[in-house]
Amino acid sequence: MSVSSRSASVVKRSIAFRYGAIALVLAIVATFSVRAALAAQNVNLLETGSSLLYPLFNLWVPVYTKANPSVRITTQSTGSGTGMSQAIEGIAQIGASDAFLSPAMMRIHPDMLNIPLAISMQMVNYNLPGLNNRHIKLSGPVLAGIYDGSIRMWNDKAIAAMNPGVNLPDHAIIPIHRTDGSGDTFIFTQYLSFSTPSWANQYSFGTTISWAPVPGELGAEGNPGMVTALQDNEYGIAYIGTSYQQAIQQHGLGIAMLKNRNGDYVLPSAMTAKAAAAQMVSKTPADERISLIFAPGPQSYPIINYEYALVKQRQPSAATAAALRNLFTWAISPNGGNAPHFMEQVHFVPLPSSVAKLSAAQIAKIQ
C-alpha cells in the first residue's frame, strides 16, 4: 500500500519532471536560434600566443572593435609556441609570436604569413635585495653561464668583473625560464647563441629548448608567470618582454644593462631599440622572417625583435579575410595601432615605414 502511494507520487513527480525537461530543451533551442541569427553577421577572430604581445592586443581590441563592431576579437596569452601551432592548425585566426616560423615549418606550411606588427625588446630582470635599482651589467656569455649552470653564485668573479664597486651577494642564483613554448625563449637563446659559441653548440636556440639541469632553477608559464616568479624569488633572474616593464617597476625589480655586439652596456629603451632596429631594417627580406638579435652599433640594445602575427594566406571565408586585412592594416598604421600612445604603454617601438610597407604587402596576400 505504502509502496503504491509512493510510486503514485513518484509518477506525478516524474510527469512534472518531464514537462520541466521539455520546457528546458525548448528554452535552450530558442536562445540557440536567436543567438545563431545574431551571430550571422559577426566575424569571430581568436588571437592566441605571445604573452609579450598580449598587453598590446588588449589595448588595441577595445579601440578597434568600437570602431568595427561587427568584428569580435578574443585575446589569449598562451605563449608564442601556442600561437604558432594553433595558427597552423587553423584553430586560431591570429597566432601571436615573438619568433618567426622555422624553415622546416614553412616548407610544410608554405601558406603561412609572418607579419611583423611592431618591434619589441626583452629585458633581463633580477631580484637582488638592495641592488634592484642599480642596473647591474651582464653579458651574453655570463647569462649563458648562469643558465647552463657553470655560474652558480651572484658573486662569481665573472659577474663581479663587469660590475666593479657593486656589492654582489654571496647567494646562489635562481635562474627562471619559460616552460611554455615561447618567443621570449627564442630571442633570449638567440642572444646567448650569437654571443657565446659554446651555448650555440650545446643548446642552440628555439622557442622550446632543453634547459641544462641547474639545481634550484624554476620554470614559469608566460611573461606574467615570469614576473610573479621573479617577484616571489629573491636572487632570481629572468628574461621578460618589455611590455611588462611597468609591472617590473611596480614590483621594484631590477633591469640589467646588457653587453651588445660592440662591447657596450646598454639599457632597454626606445632609443637603444631604435638604434638596433636601424641597423637591421634594411636587411629585412620580403617574407620578413629575420632575427634582429645582437645588432652592431654602440647604442644598440642586443635583444630586440619583430612581433609577428602568424596568419594563413587562404582564409575559409572572404569575410574573415577582409576582417583580418582591415585589422592588420589598422594595426601597423602610425595613426592606428602603431600610434605612439599605444606603443609607449607597452614600451614597443613602431615599425619603420620601410618595414610597414613589407608588412602591408604581406597583409594584401590574405584572401
Binding site: A36, Y54, P55, N58, V61, Q76, S77, I91
Partner: protein, 299 residues
C-alpha cells in the same frame, strides 16, 4: 584481531599500576592525535574556503555578472555562461549512455557484458582528465577540424561524467526492491516496461544525485577544457563547432599569474563562483538523497 581482544581482556583482568597508566596514556594520546588530524585538516580546509570566499566576495560586484571579459579586466558573464553551457552539455550527452549502462548493470547482471562494462567504467574513473582532454584535442579539435568549441568541450566532459552516472544509477536501481519487479512480471509486463515505469521512477532521486555529482565535477574541471574549449571573451553565439567558449576555471588558472590587480580580482571572483556552484550542487545532491531516505523510512 583475536589476539588484540585477548590482550584487552588480559589488561582488564590483571590490572597493574603500570599497565593502567599505560592504558590511560594510550587512550589520551590516541584521542588527541585523531582530534589533531581532524583539526589540522579542518584548519587547512577553512583556510581554503576563507581565501576563496573572503577575497572572492571582495572581488564580486555587479559588473562581474553583467559584463564580458576585456583582456584581463571587465566581467565574467561570458565565463559564467560558458561554464553552464559546457557542463550542462556534457551532462546531457552523458545521461543517455550512462543511464543505459547503469540500467544494464543493475538489471542484466547475468551475461558476460555486465562485469566487463562495470570494470571498464571503474577504470575510466581513474583515467586522468587531461588524458581525455588530449584525446579529444587530437581527434575532434584538430583532426576533425571542429576547433575549440562547445561540442568538443562538452564531449570531453561527457566522457568524464559517464562512469559517475553509470555507477550511481546502477546502485540506485539495485536499491529498488526485487518484489516490485516480480510483481510487474507477474502481471505480464515486459522487463523494459518494468524498468522504465517502475524501477526508474523509484530510483530517480539516487540517479539525480549521481547526475548532480557529475555536474559538480564538470563545473570544477579545468585540464580537459584548456585544449577543447579554448577561451573566448564574448558570449556564445550558438555555434556548436568553430567557436571557442570561455569558462570560469580558466580565469582562475590564467589570470592569477598576471601581474595586474584587476586580473587577480577576476580570478578570485571566478574561484568564488566555481566553489560556490560546486558546494551548492553538493548540498543539493545530498538533500535529494536524504529526503529520499527519509521518505522511504516513513512509507
Amino acid at each position: 584481531m583475536d589476539v588484540m581482544a585477548v590482550d584487552v581482556r588480559a589488561a582488564i583482568v590483571n590490572p597493574t599500576l603500570g599497565r593502567s597508566l599505560r592504558r590511560r596514556i594510550f587512550n589520551g594520546l590516541g584521542w588527541m592525535l585523531s582530534a589533531l588530524t581532524f583539526l589540522l585538516l579542518g584548519a587547512a580546509m577553512l583556510s581554503i574556503l576563507i581565501l576563496v570566499f573572503v577575497r572572492g566576495a571582495h572581488a564580486l560586484n555587479l559588473k562581474v555578472f553583467t559584463h564580458i571579459t576585456e583582456g584581463t579586466s571587465g566581467g565574467l558573464l561570458n565565463a559564467i555562461e560558458g561554464t553552464l553551457i559546457i557542463s550542462l552539455g556534457g551532462i546531457l550527452l552523458a545521461i543517455p549512455p550512462g543511464l543505459a549502462a547503469g540500467i544494464y548493470l543493475a538489471e542484466f547482471n547475468d551475461g558476460f557484458l555486465a562485469p566487463v562494462l562495470r570494470f571498464l567504467s571503474d577504470v575510466l574513473v581513474g583515467v586522468p582528465s587531461i588524458v581525455i582532454g588530449y584525446f579529444v584535442y587530437v581527434t575532434l579539435v584538430v583532426d576533425l577540424g571542429w576547433q575549440f568549441s562547445v561540442a568538443a568541450a562538452s564531449i570531453a566532459l561527457a566522457i568524464m561524467s559517464l562512469p559517475y552516472i553509470c555507477r550511481t544509477s546502477e546502485v540506485a536501481l539495485r536499491q529498488v526492491p526485487i518484489t516490485l519487479r516480480e510483481a510487474g512480471h507477474a502481471l505480464g509486463v515486459t522487463t523494459g516496461t518494468v524498468t522504465m515505469r517502475i524501477c526508474l521512477p523509484m530510483a530517480l532521486p539516487g540517479i539525480l544525485t549521481g547526475v548532480l555529482l557529475a555536474l559538480s565535477i564538470a563545473v570544477g574541471e579545468t585540464a580537459p577544457l584548456i585544449y577543447t574549449a579554448g577561451w573566448s571573451s564574448y558570449l556564445w553565439t550558438g555555434h556548436l563547432t568553430h567557436e571557442p567558449v570561455g569558462y570560469l576555471t580558466y580565469v582562475i588558472w590564467a589570470f592569477i599569474t598576471e601581474p595586474f590587480e584587476g586580473a587577480h580580482a577576476l580570478a578570485y571572483a571566478a574561484a568564488f563562483l566555481v566553489t560556490f556552484f560546486v558546494l551548492l550542487i553538493g548540498v543539493a545532491a545530498r538533500m535529494v538523497l536524504y529526503r529520499n531516505a527519509g521518505a522511504q523510512r516513513h512509507s
